[in-house]
Structure formats: structure tokens, C-alpha cells
């Protein structure tokens, strides 16, 4: 009897494993682009009509522009972004040793501004910061998402998973209630996607502008009537293997 307990524990763990993975089966991961209307898909597919490209274009100009007391441009150190920034967005967010916290791409750009360029940080959701982030992320377009394997990220990622599965807000919904359990079904007139952050910063028709993943998360928090939380690490882990689309378009 005594020997059965570890077996039972293994069994329970296996069942839990199945339960937590039940939302999206392996090989079933689909980008939000698959759930959009053909018109919106066409808007994203054509670089000439994708409004997100306006931000990429601005980012390209900012990349070359000397800034701050150091009077150096991003290109001054990083040179040609198409070489040096390729694949960066596919593995972000990363662990920042200085603050001992995870840091996203926009955060890294701002910390680089402060340390190397000795310039004022760009405001969150400002056009300039979104443009630079979109430009850097655009260099990874078409590459599979491969989240950083840094062990120091594990506790933050686990926390993200816990938050993703915790019921919150007045509506008592977790992220998983919709995006793991009920993806593909409809909420009002809209299809519920799997919530993969494949194309951020992205152009949202509803916003009429480009916005960050943080802004999108705040939207969902308002949707379930709760306060914002940081989930990015867990979301990129869920989206492992999906292709980067920046700048994506979403309805």
C-alpha cells in the first residue's frame, strides 16, 4: 500500500499534465491570422497595404538617427538591423541581469537608450517606441518563436501560467477559459483566437493604430473587468514554434 502512493502521485501529475495541456493540443496551435476574415488577412499579407509598415518605416529612420548625450544611433553599435536584429524578437522576452527581472523588446530598447545613448526613455505606447520595436521585431518575420531557455526566467514564466489559469475580475474568467478551452468558438460576433502574441507590435483596426502586447492585455483585462497582469512570458512559451508576423494586422 505504501508503495502505491508515489504511483498515485505520478498518476495525478500525469492527469494534471493532460488537463493543463487540454486547451490546445500539440500541433493545433494556430496564429490569430487564421481566425480573421480574408480581407483582414489580405491587409496583413501585402506590405503595401499593411498600415503597420508605416511604423516599421519610421523605425528604420529612427534606427539611423543619433540620439542622446552619447550622440550615437542604434545603427552606430548594432549596424545593419537586418543582420544583427534577425531572430531577436523570436526569442524575447529575455532575462535582464541588471534588474533581475524579465525584459521585453520595448524595455530593452529603452534600457539601451538610457545606458548607451544616454537619452531620455521613450514613453510607453509612444509612436517612436512602437516604431523602433516594430522595426526590430520585423527583422524576425517568418522565423519560428523560440522563447529564451534561460533558467532564471522559469519562476516568472510559471507565474505567468498561474495567472493565465486564474479566474479574475467581476466576470470570474481566466485567460484559459476562453483562449485554451473555447478557442474557435464565438464571443458575440468575433471568433475567439488562441491568444498567441505572434505579431506584436501590431496594427489593430479597432485602435486605428499600432499597439503593444501590453496594451492588448489591458484590453482583455477590461473585458473580464479585472486589473492588468504581466503574462507575456507564458504567452510566448505557448506560442513556441509559431512564426513571427510583425507588423501583424488584427481586427
Amino acid at each position: 500500500m505504501h508503495a502505491l502512493w508515489p504511483l498515485a502521485a505520478v498518476g495525478a501529475a500525469a492527469i494534471c499534465g493532460i488537463v493543463s495541456a487540454a486547451g490546445i493540443e500539440d500541433g493545433e496551435e494556430r496564429s490569430g491570422v487564421d481566425f480573421m476574415t480574408p480581407e483582414t488577412q489580405a491587409l496583413q499579407a501585402d506590405d503595401m497595404s499593411n498600415p503597420g509598415m508605416l511604423w516599421v518605416l519610421q523605425g528604420e529612420q529612427l534606427w539611423q538617427q543619433a540620439e542622446g548625450r552619447a550622440d550615437v544611433a542604434c545603427a552606430g553599435c548594432h549596424d545593419d538591423a537586418s543582420q544583427t536584429m534577425r531572430g531577436v524578437a523570436a526569442r524575447y522576452s529575455a532575462f535582464d541581469a541588471a534588474t533581475e527581472r524579465p525584459i521585453d523588446l520595448a524595455g530593452r530598447i529603452n534600457s539601451c537608450r538610457a545606458e548607451r545613448q544616454q537619452a531620455e526613455p521613450l514613453a510607453p505606447e509612444s509612436d517612436a517606441l512602437l516604431a523602433l520595436t516594430a522595426y526590430v521585431a520585423h527583422q524576425s518575420r517568418g522565423m519560428p518563436i523560440t522563447p529564451a531557455t534561460d533558467a532564471r526566467l522559469a519562476p516568472f514564466r510559471d507565474n505567468g501560467r498561474r495567472l493565465f489559469q486564474s479566474r479574475i475580475g467581476q466576470l470570474e474568467l481566466s485567460c484559459a477559459s476562453c483562449h485554451d478551452d473555447d478557442w474557435g468558438k464565438r464571443l458575440g460576433g468575433s471568433v475567439i483566437p488562441q491568444a498567441h502574441p505572434t505579431g506584436y507590435p501590431l496594427f489593430r483596426l479597432e485602435w486605428q493604430t499600432v499597439g503593444s502586447l501590453q496594451r492588448r492585455l489591458r484590453n482583455c483585462m477590461i473585458g473580464v473587468r479585472a486589473e492588468p497582469l504581466d503574462l507575456e512570458l507564458h504567452l510566448t512559451e505557448r506560442a513556441r514554434g509559431l512564426l513571427v508576423e510583425t507588423p501583424a494586422v488584427r481586427p
Binding site: 497595404s49 498600415p51 508605416l54 519610421q58 529612420q61 486605428q208
Partner: protein
């Protein structure tokens, strides 16, 4: 810094009908919205878009508050001679933004 994307085919045959696409970053603020402090957000839209082919205006459009942000305009031209195609966008505050592209006709 003008943020505009224009798409003009680099090459075309004489007499060919070519599609031209032009998009510019602009908030197209309608003037009907109220800001967080309760006062009106002033109207700021692009009033006029014009396209000239070797200096001659060949297409223009008047825009109104119902047009979305970052207006995207597509139209066709008959390729006659090689030269430049210039685009201008004029907004409410009188700011004129321009872009241009070359086309080779043979």
C-alpha cells in the same frame, strides 16, 4: 518626417494601365471626439490628396472626416512616358507631405 508608403511599378509598357497605391500615417482626427479633460479634440484630417505625373496633376481626391486613420488610396494610371510620379497630402493645419516614385515606360 513623412511616413508614407507609395507603390508604383518600376517598369511598364507604353499604354499599360498600372495600379498606384499610396498610404500615409495620419491620425485623421474627426473633430467630433471629446478628450479626457472634456474639451473637444480639434479636427485634424487630410483634406486633399493629389498625384501628378511629370508635373501634370492626373488624380486627386478630397477627404472627409469619415475616412479612417492612415488613409490608403489606390487608383490606376495609363503609363505614357518615363518620369516621376509625385504624391502630396495636405491637411487641416496646412502641412503638406510629399512622396515620389520613378516609373520607366518602354
Amino acid at each position: 518626417m513623412a511616413r508614407a508608403l507609395v507603390n508604383v511599378p518600376k517598369m511598364a509598357r507604353q499604354g499599360e494601365v498600372v495600379e498606384i497605391k499610396a498610404m500615409i500615417a495620419h491620425p485623421m482626427e474627426t473633430g467630433y471626439r471629446i478628450g479626457p479633460n472634456g474639451s473637444n479634440i480639434p479636427r485634424d484630417i487630410i483634406r486633399r490628396f493629389a498625384c501628378s505625373y511629370n508635373g501634370e496633376e492626373v488624380f486627386s481626391a478630397d477627404l472627409f472626416p469619415a475616412v479612417s486613420a492612415n488613409p490608403f488610396i489606390a487608383f490606376t494610371l495609363v503609363a505614357t512616358t518615363s518620369g516621376t510620379i509625385d504624391f502630396t497630402w495636405t491637411d487641416d493645419v496646412g502641412k503638406i507631405q510629399t512622396a515620389s516614385a520613378m516609373i520607366t515606360v518602354n
